[in-house]
């Protein structure tokens, strides 16, 4: 029972990450009709926003270790700590949450530049070419990151007060042994908030209304004298920000490396398709569904019955859904089936 409860939490947590990545992907596909293989790279760039900020905050005074003569071994003390004492330490400790403030403008800018500079020329091109050019862009972006930060993952811990586990078992009356890391709970909450914000934005603002109308029928909206293109640029920026924020907050869970975007790319496409191409609600539902299924498939009890099931569960679900219900969980009938 405890085990199942914990696996549901794991699944929700994973699902939160999948949903955030898939959300941006499907938003871009639904509005712009672009298959963006560089979306994983945006997730990665978000995580590196956190790394960059931490590097900036921890620019250090280096005290040389005199016992070592043939290379510069030194003990570092960040200037922030020297200047501000404990306050400086706290700022560094909180660098991951603080980097959200950095990531929003940076990712928005990256998104806008990407759309204006490259993607907009590909709206009318075949999907195959969109895939190739964005895939090329993804490689270029990750190689640039690699040349600055190396290939090795870089640790970026969460603030000290979130480092332990929450005794949720006690709170919920499930016994002491049920605990869950604070940071993962925060991630879950965070993904919920972002998802809600994106939906609210599309649902309750005029801007959102036009975008949704554009998703249904771009031509008619254009004929009504509304500059759809202009708004779609902003949509792309929003998708980039959502992916970036997913990356920032994920950094303490998964020490970022230059390749992490590619690792999530295939998976996020599967999530989008299972949810239904271009369906935002579907992407979110599919993200959580696949996260939970993956968690359960990894349990020893399940693996004892079907060996290796945790290796293929995601793809198996994708195959079944596409064959049985091609428009995905929540896709509209007849949309994007070709």
């Amino acid at each position: 029972m405890d085990a199942i409860f914990l696996q549901i939490l794991n699944g929700l947590d994973k699902g939160g990450a999948y949903a955030l990545i898939a959300l941006g992907l499907t938003l871009v596909f639904g509005t712009l009709g672009v298959v963006n293989f560089a979306h994983g790279a945006l997730f990665m760039l978000g995580a590196f926003c956190a790394i960059t900020l931490e590097k900036i905050l921890t620019i250090s005074m280096k005290v040389k270790d005199e016992s070592i003569t043939f290379f510069d071994a030194y003990k570092e003390q960040p200037y922030l700590e020297i200047w501000f004492g404990d306050f400086g330490t706290t700022i560094i400790d909180w660098s991951v949450p603080i980097s959200i403030l950095l990531a929003i403008p940076v990712m928005l800018l990256i998104g806008l530049v990407m759309e204006r500079g490259l993607i907009k020329h590909f709206y009318k091109r075949p999907h195959a070419e969109q895939i190739l050019v964005t895939f090329g862009l993804a490689i270029v972006l990750q190689e640039i990151v690699k040349s600055f930060f190396g290939a090795n993952p870089i640790p970026s811990p969460a603030p000290e007060i979130f480092s332990g586990s929450a005794p949720i078992g006690v709170l919920l009356g499930l016994g002491e042994s049920v605990v869950y890391p604070w940071w993962r709970l925060i991630y879950l909450l965070f993904s919920g908030i972002i998802i809600f914000a994106v939906f609210a934005f599309l649902q309750f603002t005029t801007f959102g209304m036009v975008v949704r109308a554009g998703m249904h029928d771009r031509e008619t909206v254009g004929l009504l004298g509304i500059n759809v293109e202009h708004r779609f640029t902003i949509v792309f920026g929003i998708a980039a920000v959502v992916a970036g924020l997913a990356g920032v907050m994920y950094a303490p869970i998964l020490p970022p490396d230059y390749h992490m975007g590619m690792d999530f790319l295939v998976l996020s496409f599967v999530v989008v398709v299972v949810g239904g191409m271009g369906s935002l609600g579907g992407a979110v539902a599919a993200g959580f569904l696949l996260g939970i299924l993956q968690s359960f498939a990894s349990m020893n009890e399940v693996k004892a019955i079907i060996p290796g099931i945790d290796q293929i569960i995601i793809y198996l679900v994708a195959v079944v859904i596409i064959l049985v219900r091609p428009r995905g969980l929540m896709g509209r009938k007849g949309v994007m089936e070709d």
Binding site: V35, L118, H121, R125, H127, A128, E129, I131, L132, V133, F135, G136, L137, A138, I139, V140, E143, I144, S147, V266, F269, V270, V273, M277, P307, G308, Q311, I312, Y315, L316, A318, V319, I322, L323, P326, M336, E337, D338
Partner: protein, 378 residues
């Protein structure tokens, strides 16, 4: 076919055959004239030609074609282990088994089209890869890859002497240049079949499906069997390519089935020019050349290459180019994809066409030039 001179298929075949068989001559000056890379050119050429029969003709973008490559390789190595080191049974079994896999995967995947088809093929390939890497290890030898061992039965061969036997075709060893010529003959055969398919009524039907499937269906034409046939043929090409990888180097690893490997053949085909006869070959050549030659450059080699420059300039040039070779070869590849897709959507073949049109334009009087160019564009 877009080169007006080469109207006659036999002329095309003759030129192609000569070009392939003399490859060691014209590849040596660019540093690619050694057996292993030439084998890779031929093998991935076959793979890409086969992929192009599906994607180029029908427009169905399979993102899981590497699974057939992997199946072909595993089958071939098992044939070497169980039956004989002769390559013919290995090649035949590989093509057949890849065909069987293609029937199953194709039958299911072709129930959908567009991006759904892509995701289905991707999912099948990823499942195969993940299982081959882990729980199927008794069959595939997992991470290490399936290899020959001394105590393999090899029931058709007599007892071997010291050391592992080599793959052979009736006594001719299939390593080095022999291996290349075997692959080259297969490439020529594969190209010939692909040419015939392009020209056949079957090929035309596939093209019709690509341009408007709905209309085909409304005319009472059942597209599914044609698509499945194309898919299976294409899968068999991949199986052949996989078996040749094992023929020239008897080892089969799971990573051959990874989605990046499937992606590679997609990139090759689009880079060269999807739907053209020669495009996939160019694409395969370019990517393999990058992977093997650019990745092997280091600063020392660059200094040799740019030694003719004055010292200060040499150092600058080496420092800049150094970012793009060696460990930076992925960066160059990424940039190349972008440049080709942005400026040459038809791939390298379109580049060649434009260039030849331009050259022709120079030789004609300026009055005819516009006419010639616009004619070329048709």
């Amino acid at each position: 076919m877009n080169m007006p001179l080469l109207k006659n298929d036999w002329v095309i075949m003759a030129i192609f055959t000569v070009a392939v068989l003399t490859a060691p001559l014209w590849l040596t000056p660019v540093g690619a004239g050694y057996p292993d890379l030439m084998q890779k050119f031929a093998i991935f050429g076959i793979f890409a030609i086969g992929f192009n029969l599906l994607f180029g003709l029908t427009g169905y973008l399979s993102f899981g074609h590497a699974v057939f490559l992997g199946v072909g390789s595993y089958t071939a190595v098992w044939s070497f282990k169980l039956l004989t080191m002769n390559v013919l049974p290995a090649v035949i079994f590989s093509i057949l088994l890849a065909g069987v896999f293609a029937v199953v995967i194709g039958y299911l995947s072709l129930r959908r089209s567009g991006i759904y088809f892509s995701i289905l093929t991707l999912a099948f390939a990823q499942m195969s890869y993940n299982l081959a890497y882990s729980v199927l290890t008794p069959l595939t030898n997992g991470e290490t890859g399936l290899q020959l061992t001394m105590d393999d039965p090899r029931v058709l061969d007599g007892p071997v002497g010291q050391g592992l036997p080599s793959t052979q075709l009736f006594g001719i060893e299939m390593s080095g240049y022999n291996g290349f010529y075997f692959c080259a003959v297969m490439l020529i055969l594969g190209f010939f079949i692909s040419l015939r398919i392009f020209r056949s009524p079957f090929g035309l039907k596939l093209l019709a499906i690509k341009s408007n499937q709905t209309r085909m269906k409304y005319t009472g034409f059942n597209t599914r069997p044609y698509l499945l046939t194309a898919f299976v043929i294409s899968g068999m090409y991949a199986g052949l390519a996989g078996s040749l990888m094992a023929v020239t180097d008897p080892l089969a690893g799971a990573e051959r089935m990874q989605w990046t490997a499937s992606g590679e053949v997609v990139l090759m085909t689009i880079l060269g020019g999807a739907g053209t006869l020669f495009g996939p070959l160019f694409g395969a050549g370019i990517i393999k050349y990058f992977e093997n030659i650019f990745s092997a450059m280091n600063d020392g080699r660059l200094h040799e290459i740019f030694a003719f420059l004055p010292d200060w300039l040499e150092n600058i040039v080496v420092a800049i180019t150094g970012e793009f070779v060696g460990e930076g070869w992925h960066l160059t590849l990424g940039l190349l994809f972008m440049i080709v897709v942005i400026f040459l959507p038809g791939g390298v073949v379109e580049g060649i066409r434009r260039a030849s049109a331009y050259v022709k334009g120079i030789f004609q009087s300026s009055g005819d030039k516009d006419v010639a160019l616009s004619a070329e564009k048709e």
